[in-house]
Symmetry: C2
Subunit: 167 residues, 2 copies
Amino acid sequence: MIGSYSLTTEELQEAYGDGACNCPSPNEQMALVFSQARPFDLVELEQLLRSVGWSQRPMRKVQIALDNSLLKVGLWRHDQSFPRLIGFARCTGDGVLEATVWDVAVHPIYQGFGLGKLLMDYVNRSLRDIGIRRITLFADPGVVAFYKSQGWLLEPKGHRCAFWYAN
Amino acid sequence: MIGSYSLTTEELQEAYGDGACNCPSPNEQMALVFSQARPFDLVELEQLLRSVGWSQRPMRKVQIALDNSLLKVGLWRHDQSFPRLIGFARCTGDGVLEATVWDVAVHPIYQGFGLGKLLMDYVNRSLRDIGIRRITLFADPGVVAFYKSQGWLLEPKGHRCAFWYAN
């Protein structure tokens, strides 16, 4: 059911910036686009993240976090005048040795069509393109199976994840 | 046995840069200093990391990784003319929401005196000072107990760590 409606290179560039590309869509009436360049509306981004259960964070901090991220990917439902943000992921890292993925989300309405896998494929490919050989993330219990099915290794070589919370 | 020999504020500033501070030393003849500003000799840094079992990495990439790190901490054995790097840790992150610790090392000769704990205390304090509330890391099997004993939570709320390797 992955459909046929997609944007031309010129349309992609104009609305979504450098490096944007079509994402296979589950509905032929609906074009989906991956973009690293189109700016986010912070309210829309926080609504998306909250729709998948993340807790709210101060807008000012989110903006700084985005500015300081190695990679920010938006998955947009294309519309000539008002594209909607339906998926997101970002990475922190040093640009060469380490990259860590955070805040992966696909809006619940658009889940179940394999878009999460396509989003992660896009993230992995983008990081590989800049020379990153290993990507890391901390998976919530509910998405462990999702990552495992895509070839992510859980606790390779006995690695454990550790969190420290400031008082 | 934590000793008394330490540097004055002026000495710290001159040799180790802004924000440097004394580290309690296990030997009163030996002054130890934490610094975020003193530049690293890449050969010395790689020797330190290899002494604790890290595999060698291309020097050029290490330099970029350091440049792009949120925080780089050296633990130095003070010497007027030739301070030696005996400990290291760095963090990547977005500066406000996420910080991840990498490449923690204390040279084997200096292990067993609690310096690893002091190093991590310094890292945590430095990150807290810039407003980071949660710090993450991927612990090798051999150091899981070390982090646990310092209050790091392993897989809090069922988090699992996932690694993806580029082909």
